[in-house]
Amino acid sequence: MVSEEATHLYEAFVSQDPAKAIQVVERVRSSGVPQTQLFDSLFVPAMSLLGGAWAEGRIDEIVFTQASVVAEQIGSFVMPPLTRPDTGVTVVMGSIHRDRHGIMKDIIASALKEAGYRVNDLGVGVRGADFLERLEETGARVVIVFAEILATARAVAGVRDLLTAENRDDVVMLVAGGPFAADPGLARSVGANGVIASAESALKLLGRVREDLLGGGAS
């Protein structure tokens, strides 16, 4: 079925008919082929047919070029989604008060956004009360506190104290930064639920948090 449609798509390319090409794509999509599969199951075989037609001399250089233009035009209809689906999970993050380090925070914020998390980045030098306020505003249940020097890392305990004082023990507090990576005991002592060591570990940890604590639902 799909291979037949690939032939139809190829024919639409060669006849320089983008409307017909889109019709083929829509037909295949409505038959139940998910967007993530359209490129492999439809576009790739059609392009291979196009290459074959050019190699065999059934189409000349001009038709090959024009057909490729049509392929370009309908590319966005068959490409897998660029961004990953929204996880529904909101994450509040920032570097703790008196800590101006922001590189790791920015890299992790970008990685989480790319992975579909709703990131509220408060920047650097963030007071504990500001974390709490933003958690309340957004309804988030996950906060990531960054600290790159020992003195500020110890001060992260103040954020947990605030959360406890406001009866927000449901909030998952993750910490990141050199002192926490060097001394896992430090994270426990400040009341953190986990340590983020890298952008990749942030993705893994947030994935677990999402599954285990939030039941995969939005918050």
């Binding site: 233009v69 790319e114 990141a176 890298s198 990749e200």
Partner: protein
């Protein structure tokens, strides 16, 4: 007008140019015994010490040369590189590269190194300005591109940095060389007349490859066409056609030919290379490019760049740990691979390893500046009485 060089200095120069460093150093000391106020000798000695990784000695000799002649541009180069390679002397380094950029404003390396010195001293904006200036002078300057990608990573994350890394990679001639190595072409360019190419498939494809290397796309396409007219299922010919289209920015034609080639030879490295590069141009096809580059790295594991391409596709999938492994494989095969070093720096930054990232960038600079051989160009220009 520069003063005449002594015969002893000329002996030292000759030895140095032939790579006989210890003998050249000995000759420099003999020249200094005759005249210890010759800036040429001190500059050359500074370069030789730098080549031998004796940074403090290189700093001393180059400084002496500059004191004797503040216009001695090759000594500034050796001094700046010595500061950078030694590490921990970013303030002095900034001053030297700034001075050299003033003395020889079109010297690209001065702006690249100045940017790296600024970045190491945490002057990020000034660093970016320097790399942009380097790119104004040479839009293909790979290290300036890579440094800008690292700067973008620090502030905007991998999704912004990765396209810059890939763009730099495509400008880097070593990526084209990978294709020709996969094709099995000899490293040296062979001159030939198309009219004399034997009317045989292998001879035509070899000649087409050579023409592609010389960017004669039409000549190559004519030969490929003849081969395809005889056998439209010739996977090698289709792969060559795909590459020719790729180089002419015709991504869809390249994709069509590469896909067709792979239907006849599923693990043909040249077709995998082109298809992977095409896929990597589309942000939505990260998984596809990773799949293709995994196959390429398996079919041609001896080439460091196949691992680099794989690593970059893994960065696009946020698989930073696996990307690190692939980059390390590349660096094991070729420690001088600048692109892999910067890739490793990017991965280390995602892990909070700032010092390690900085170290990789310094190693990249080390190998890149050794490869460039700027010293002799500047030294000869200085000897002739002009700037570089």
């Amino acid at each position: 007008m520069s003063p005449a060089r002594s015969s002893q200095l000329l002996i030292a120069e000759d030895l140095a140019r032939r790579g006989q460093l210890p003998a050249a150093v000995a000759a420099c000391y003999e020249a200094l015994a005759i005249n210890d106020r010759d800036p040429f000798v001190h500059a050359l000695l500074g370069h030789l010490m730098l080549e031998g990784d004796f940074y403090d000695e290189a700093i001393a000799a180059s400084t002496q040369a500059i004191e004797l002649d503040p216009d001695c541009s090759p000594a500034y180069l050796a001094l700046g590189l010595a500061y950078d390679r030694r590490g921990g002397m970013w303030d002095q380094s900034v001053l030297v590269w700034h001075e050299l950029a003033e003395v020889v404003p079109d010297l690209v390396i001065a702006h690249v190194q100045l940017g790296e010195a600024f970045a190491a001293a945490a002057f990020e904006e000034e660093a970016v300005d320097s790399w942009k200036r380097a790119l104004e002078l040479d839009p293909k300057e790979a290290r300036a591109h890579y440094n800008l990608a690292i700067a973008a990573l620090k502030h905007e994350g991998m999704s912004t940095a990765l396209p810059t890394i890939r763009r730099a990679g495509e400008l880097d001639p070593s990526q084209d060389e990978l294709f020709f190595a996969l094709l099995g072409l000899p490293a040296e360019q062979i001159e030939f007349d198309i009219a004399t190419v034997k009317p045989e498939r292998d001879a035509r494809l070899f000649a087409a490859g050579m023409l592609l290397r010389g960017e004669d796309f039409f000549g190559a396409s004519d030969l490929v066409r003849i081969v395809l007219d005889e056998n439209p299922a010739d996977a090698d010919a289709l792969a060559l056609a795909a590459y020719a289209y790729l180089k002419q920015e015709a991504s869809n034609e390249a994709m069509a030919c590469a896909l067709r080639s792979l239907t006849f030879s599923a693990d043909l490295p040249t077709a995998l290379y082109t298809l992977g590069v095409v896929y990597s141009r589309f942000p939505g096809l990260s998984k596809h490019s990773a799949r293709v580059f995994i196959a390429l790295a398996k079919s041609a594991p001896q080439h460091s760049l196949t691992h680099v391409l794989l690593a970059e596709s893994l960065l696009g999938l946020q698989r930073y740990g696996q990307a690190r492994q692939a980059y390390r494989a590349a660096v094991r095969l070729d420690p001088a691979c600048v692109r892999a070093r910067f890739g490793l720096a990017a991965v280390r930054l995602t892990e909070g390893g700032y010092a390690e990232a900085q170290w990789e960038i310094r190693r990249a600079a080390y190998y890149d500046t050794r490869r460039q051989g700027n010293f002799w160009r500047m030294y000869d220009a200085y000897a002739e009485g002009g700037d570089a």
